[in-house]
Symmetry: C2
């Protein structure tokens, strides 16, 4: 597992050489939300924990590392003894997948020997941030669909086949009903959906033959794609030929107008039970507009917008050192770089409110007692490198996400002009941050408080 | 390898049931360039060919497919005989990786039994489009750096660990000098770069100790990160302590102003040979502005912008049926959906111009003779499911890309207000498309020409 930045190795080699048994806590959080997101939905934890649990260096990988110039100061013991035996031995606290989260709130915290905590940074960030961005987008799209099913169709535009797989998982977790990705069905048990492409229609001598052939194969489960030539003409052909597909899909054109025309042809057909699905460069805004228009649409297929979180393809997520434990002494630390300040100390996030509506969050120190009515969001999910308890089932995470998401006020979740959600910081955390700032300023040579 | 859309399987099962031995040609191209790209640089071909060469269905995967409701009409022969033995047996023509390409130009063409060509669509698209988007971004960023090295640092923000790996490959191919991704160094031989993070500085009792410790480990190769507290103060400390690092890195603040101040401290130091590297949310526009400002910057680290192609995270790439070969008859086909029209027939792309400057491209039928002075861009890379010749080395592809890219006129490559590059269509292709349109219109019931 060499998926890490080189500096993680150079630093790990340096820490290892010091042999001072330092433990460290790092927190993963999103510094600032993208302008098009008012909240995020966490995802990717199970894959992140798998990265930690399966973390090994093979003989060939270690041989490669020996050849890297930046690592030539590392002694033979690092390559011969340390790396071959290295296993993640630390502790992880994290929010359950599917939890709504806001800027500055730790999603995950690693406490481990400094070398280990450092080496896993890059993989943890890419794993958690990517799935979180897709789940967050899925929450918006499914909210916009107002109860109609949303199918994730974005595999072809995802950032490679693995990104396609995990995008499907995160989209389902965030609220989608199904995916077109067969691998995701196989690996995660997500319902799979989809029937024909334009090429099916084009590969037959004419459109009606293509439809009839599909009906012969799938019977009343058929979903016919009707926009290869002209959706309205195709709908008329379906009625004239006496076909009774389960649904049709329209993938281009003015979806609101065409769906009305097709619905009217079908209702006179009589194909009143044939559903109309639409797709084609949809996102939450287009879905919301179609729903608002009253168009007779029964479901949405959404691709690129979901699988790449296209309007916010990267989250400003970071993994920052917050505390050092060395020779029995705990030292909270923080970064002071201009515009990139962090808050020192291991933290907890409490959500406060009624069971049906969250009112505000409190970010405080992990050692504090909960504020009245506050429910802690971070829980211990790995100890001594082993998962505590068993991994929840994806469908249960999805169900929990759907209900938890609705505890976030509608004003915060809405697509346009959303309202703010209050995230406050505990008095103890504010005071620790102040002491840290004063200490850094007072020391002349900037240094961490001890 | 179930990384495909479900409808590819339902269609493949349908084609297989028909048993009519139909062969088909599909072309992969980008319909329209993102507004922030004036040309693309192809990448991902080797991984796409690996997908084809290694394509297998395991017993467990086939068992899963049997359980999928949409496939229940497929007969037992499909699962028992066809899928277990399925191997890609087709032909692939493609542009060499690193080729500049424009909208509408086929990057890759698959000719194979219809089932096979259909089943591989999703994986081919995600593999080629993702790497192409990153290589295209890398070309812009390295152009902007005007000869200064650009290091790709974007793993942590990539769409998962595999996307991080292939983003590194594509970024290097597109012109970057190195990557921080160790896996990419191991797998592809890309030079790896990077030395310390802010956490290294924060984990030591003070900044100078962190620097001294790094110098002790890396000697004159040290690259010190100087912005954890204050870059200018840190530069003064380095000089006062008599340290002689190879370079420093500034990751925040006003990079132009701070680099000038640091350079002046170092030149008086005397650390005139210590280079200044900068990073922190850079993209081609910020790099170009820093270069234009005359800031004494010797190299750039670029992360998210590269690894996610953040301003154009998805290309409007498609894989379209263009020709059917059935019972000895070749039938060019095209899609007529509103706004999604395609051109029929197997195509070739010729680049016309002097050896040092491309003047225009001609897209014509593959069966045509080349226009005068035209160099064909598509070549046969796989026949009967086997790669023709051996895979080029990545460093050779990168070198070829760097020189080929410069044959595209500067007016087309520039970042702001780029000029157009002419892509024309041959008379034969235009005539075939016209005949196809007329035929579809004349047939009343839309149909393909025979």
């Amino acid at each position: 597992m060499l998926s890490t930045d080189l500096y993680q190795f150079t630093m790990a080699a340096g820490y290892h050489a010091a042999q001072d048994g330092t433990n460290a806590s790092f927190e993963l959080f999103v510094r600032e939300l993208p302008s098009s997101r008012n909240y995020l939905v966490t995802a990717g934890l199970e894959q992140a924990l798998s990265v930690l649990a399966e973390w090994r260096y093979t003989r060939d990988e270690i041989q490669y590392l020996r050849s890297v110039p930046a690592l030539r100061s590392a002694g033979p013991e690092f390559f011969d003894e340390y790396l071959p035996r290295l296993r993640f031995s630390g502790e992880v606290w994290a929010m359950a997948e599917g939890t709504p989260v806001f800027a500055g709130e730790p999603i995950l915290r690693v406490t481990a020997p400094l070398e280990e905590a450092q080496l896993v940074e890059t993989a943890l960030l890419s794993t958690v941030l990517f799935q979180t961005s897709v789940a967050s987008k899925a929450a918006r799209v499914t909210d916009a669909a107002a109860g109609r099913p949303v199918m994730e169709f974005g595999g072809r535009r995802a950032h490679g086949v693995d990104a396609a797989l995990f995008a499907s998982r995160a989209a389902y977790l965030g609220g989608c009903s199904a995916t077109s990705n067969v691998e995701a069905g196989y690996r995660f048990g997500i319902p799979v959906a989809g029937t024909m492409a334009h090429s099916w229609v084009m590969a037959h001598c004419d459109e009606l033959t293509a439809f009839e052939r599909d009906m012969a194969l799938h019977g009343s489960d058929s979903v016919l794609l009707i926009d290869t030539y002209n959706s309205v003409t195709a709908a008329q052909k379906i009625v004239s030929a006496g076909l009774r597909p389960a649904a049709v899909r329209i993938d281009s054109g003015d979806l609101a107008r065409v769906s009305v025309a097709v619905r009217s042809i079908f209702d006179a057909g009589p194909l009143s039970s044939t559903r109309i699905l639409v797709s084609g460069d949809l996102d939450e805004h287009r879905v919301a507009a179609l729903v608002a228009s009253g168009a007779p649409i029964d479901g949405f297929g959404v691709g690129t917008a979901l699988s790449t979180s296209v309007d916010a393809p990267a989250l400003g997520g970071v993994y920052k050192l917050v505390e050092i434990l060395r020779e029995g002494t705990v030292t909270p630390v923080a970064k002071r770089s201009l515009g990139k300040q962090t808050l020192p100390g291991r933290k907890q996030v409490w959500r406060v409110g009624e069971s049906s509506t969250a009112a505000y969050d409190v970010v405080g120190l992990a050692t504090e007692t909960a504020p009245p009515g506050g429910v802690p969001l971070l829980e211990c999910v790995m100890r001594d490198g082993r998962r505590t308890g068993s991994a929840p089932r994806l469908c249960e995470l999805r169900a929990a996400c759907t209900s938890t998401r609705l505890t976030i006020p509608e004003s915060v979740r809405r697509l346009s002009a959303p309202g703010p959600y209050p995230v406050t910081f505990s008095a103890a955390l504010v005071e620790l941050a102040r002491k840290h700032r004063v200490e850094v300023a007072r020391s002349g040579a900037p240094r961490d408080i001890g």
